[in-house]
């Protein structure tokens, strides 16, 4: 009802939910038609990253909490990271790449980056299954904390959609974004508790660390699967930042959307 919802153009989105479904399905289908390994990439990507990190920095003491095998620890961060990085890099290019339909027919433009993120969800689910199997083989059995997994996944998706749609809109205005995104993602990988535990970070950096909107979802995700010490209160900050990013992203997106077809 509120002005806010109209500003973000969200009720329109509900009206067009079937289109969202079709575009998600298209992105998924097209991606797998063009690859030889298809859905196997959903397993290979986090697995290969896990190998790379285990071989390169895995021996360094203290990166993973005590008593936790580094590969297991890394994989539990790399699976959600894969969704984030694929979703963000796919979404950031999506508006520019969708020019041919954007200039020919109306629909809420937010559907385009949403569909891209959505099309990576099946990969995420496959990655999650892989992770559960690997954890099982490694002797980690999920505890009651697993109940927090849906919340962690939701927080992860919110962050991905927020960052992805913001970059998608920014990319329309400034094509530099395309070149900046891979670099940005690399920084983000090392600036988040993915291949190392957040306990590694010194206290003076904690504040800066907490405003990283990806840190909270990843920590929550890992805790729900591995248990151990509950995540620090800083994840509340991270989650709030993640929601703020989403709101800012949606309103910026809405602003760009108004003249999108003229400048794309």
């Amino acid at each position: 009802m509120g002005q806010g919802r109209r500003l973000l153009g969200l009720e329109d989105l509900w009206e067009y939910r079937e289109l969202l479904y079709f575009l998600t399905w298209r992105d998924l289908k097209v991606r797998y038609k063009q690859t030889a390994f298809g859905l196997a990439w959903a397993i290979l990507q986090p697995l290969l990253l896990m190998l790379v990190f285990s071989v390169s920095i895995g021996r360094i003491a203290g990166l993973a909490p005590d008593g936790m095998a580094y590969p297991l620890f890394a994989l539990s961060g790399l699976v959600p990271w894969t969704l984030f990085s694929q979703g963000v890099s796919g979404a950031s290019d999506s508006l520019v790449g969708g020019e041919s339909i954007i200039t020919k027919v109306y629909f809420p433009r937010l559907i385009v980056p949403l569909a891209v993120v959505g099309s990576f969800l099946p990969d995420f689910v496959v990655g999650l299954l892989l992770l559960l199997i690997v954890l099982g083989v490694g002797g980690v059995t999920p505890s009651v904390t697993l109940l927090a997994l849906p919340l962690a996944a939701l927080a992860l998706i919110v962050t991905t959609v927020g960052v992805g749609s913001f970059l998608a809109a920014l990319n329309v205005r400034y094509r530099d974004v395309r070149y900046a995104v891979p670099f940005l993602l690399q920084l983000w990988l090392f600036g988040s508790p993915i291949v190392y535990a957040s306990s590694v970070i010194g206290p003076s950096f904690r504040v800066v660390y907490a405003i990283n909107p990806l840190a909270g979802p990843i920590e929550l995700f890992r805790w729900s699967l591995l248990g151990g010490t509950p995540p620090s209160p800083s994840i509340a900050v991270s989650t709030a930042v993640s929601l703020a990013v989403l709101v800012v992203a949606l309103s910026y997106f809405r602003r760009v959307e108004r003249t999108l077809a003229d400048v794309i």
Binding site: F22, L23, R26, K104, V105, Y106, V172, D176, R258, D262
Partner: protein, 424 residues
């Protein structure tokens, strides 16, 4: 009840002489920094241009209205605003009811997906519900004649096939308001007829249709009412016969020659029009004696014709929008069979004297290649001239002075045999 209400609609575009439509980040940051420091000067390179200015009209439920005008008159911009693709700078446009817009054939087709998949995808993009597409699926496929190719990726379709399938999806849209842009000018002749038939069917049943076209015959056939746009403003509205006449009598009908520079020439990499002109072998090119032959000269740059045979075709129309005839330079068999090289092509069509009827004749010029048909350059209503009958007993009408009907007035050969009455 009005289905479409448009009030004071305007759309301004900024045309930066040096600037791309999208900016560079550094440029923006620099401007922001200057703004903070109090520098307020505007970039002088920015030019403004109003694609639409102060446009108002309303269209009642069930009406089919044509929108006509020259290239750049604002027709496409109007359609884009009405279909919500872009927002107006001033004024408002209100559409009451479910809107379907058809600005292209095969909107949203993905080459990697099969025909079946694309029918669903394109239908959804055009605003159909999934259940609706499923219900009409067989009809759509039937209309396109595509049943054998349903599971083939669209990238392997011929261009004609793609167009047919794309149009078929669109033809089964059932919005209350339908916005259509020129999509009928596609496909082979038979399919065009079929889609025109489908379009007039769509016009019935209380549906409101806004149809943008360069084709006066299609406008006259499909739309009882029409709007004439010129340089972004409404020049005339009313019965389409009258509006079409206004259009053809306006500045469209006054130029006997058009010349383009490399920058504004219509066309693509294969062919780009350089000039179209009418040359009267005797007298002024604007007014041509009905007895005199005339030439229509088309010059085009052909920069990359490798493996193709670009060919000029001319469509001649009278001031009621009736197509008098179409002619193509492949009538010159020597030229048609010659391999093409890059260069400037001068093609001259010779129209005999004592052939056209009196009145204003408008010529559309295009350069195309065939099999598959691709129109590389086209200028609708490129030139026009007036044919006047000043014959003094030596023309087709002889000494008969009253109205002489017919869209052409050819002087034909007659054989006369005479058998005198034999009286015994």
């Amino acid at each position: 009840m009005s289905r479409i209400v448009v009030e004071g609609l305007g759309k301004r575009y900024r045309v930066g002489a040096t600037q791309a439509p999208y900016g560079r980040l550094t440029e923006s940051l620099w401007n922001a920094a200057r703004g903070l420091l109090g520098g307020r000067e505007k970039r002088e390179a920015d030019r403004e241009f109003w694609a639409l200015r102060d446009v108002s009209f309303s269209i009642p439920e069930g009406a089919a209205v044509g929108v006509i005008g020259r290239n750049g008159a604002g027709k496409s911009t109007l359609l884009k605003i009405l279909s919500r693709i872009t927002e107006p700078t001033t004024g408002r446009a209100e559409l009451r009811g479910r809107v379907g817009s058809l600005l292209e054939v095969g909107t949203g087709f993905h080459p990697e997906l099969t025909g079946r998949e694309n029918v669903f995808l394109s239908g959804a993009i055009l605003g159909m519900r999934r259940a609706e597409i499923a219900r009409r699926f067989d009809e759509i496929v039937d209309f396109a004649g595509a049943s054998q190719f349903l599971d083939t990726p669209v990238k392997r379709y011929s261009s004609g096939m793609k167009v047919r399938l794309g149009f078929a999806v669109a033809a089964f849209l059932e919005p209350e308001i339908l916005l259509v842009d020129e999509v009928l000018a596609v496909g082979d002749a038979e399919f065009q007829k079929k889609s025109l038939g489908k379009m007039s069917e769509l016009g019935g049943g209380g549906r409101t249709v806004l149809f943008v076209s360069h084709s006066m015959p299609s406008i006259l056939r499909l739309c009882p009412q029409a709007i004439l746009l010129d340089k972004g403003r409404v020049l005339a509205t009313g019965a389409s016969g009258e509006v079409v006449r206004r259009y053809l009598e306006s500045d469209v009908g006054r130029t006997s020659q058009r010349v383009w520079t490399v920058d504004d020439a219509p066309g693509d990499v294969v062919a780009r029009l350089r000039s179209v002109r009418v040359v009267a072998r005797d007298g002024s090119p604007d007014e041509i004696d009905i007895r005199q032959p005339l030439d229509v000269e088309v010059t085009y740059w052909s920069s990359d014709p490798s493996g193709l045979r670009p060919s000029v075709n001319l469509h001649f129309y009278n001031d009621e929008g009736v197509c008098l005839f179409v002619t193509n330079d492949w009538s010159n068999r020597d030229w048609w069979t010659q391999p093409r090289r890059p260069g400037l092509v001068h093609a001259t069509c010779r129209v005999p004297g004592n052939f056209l009827a009196e009145g204003r004749v408008t010529v559309t010029a295009a350069v195309s290649t065939y099999d598959p048909t691709v129109v590389h350059a086209v200028e609708w209503d490129a030139i026009a001239f007036q044919v006047v009958d000043r014959s003094e007993g030596d023309g087709v009408r002889g000494v008969y002075a009253a109205d002489w009907p017919g869209v052409v007035r050819p002087m034909l050969e007659w054989d006369i045999a005479f058998e005198p009455t034999v009286r015994d």
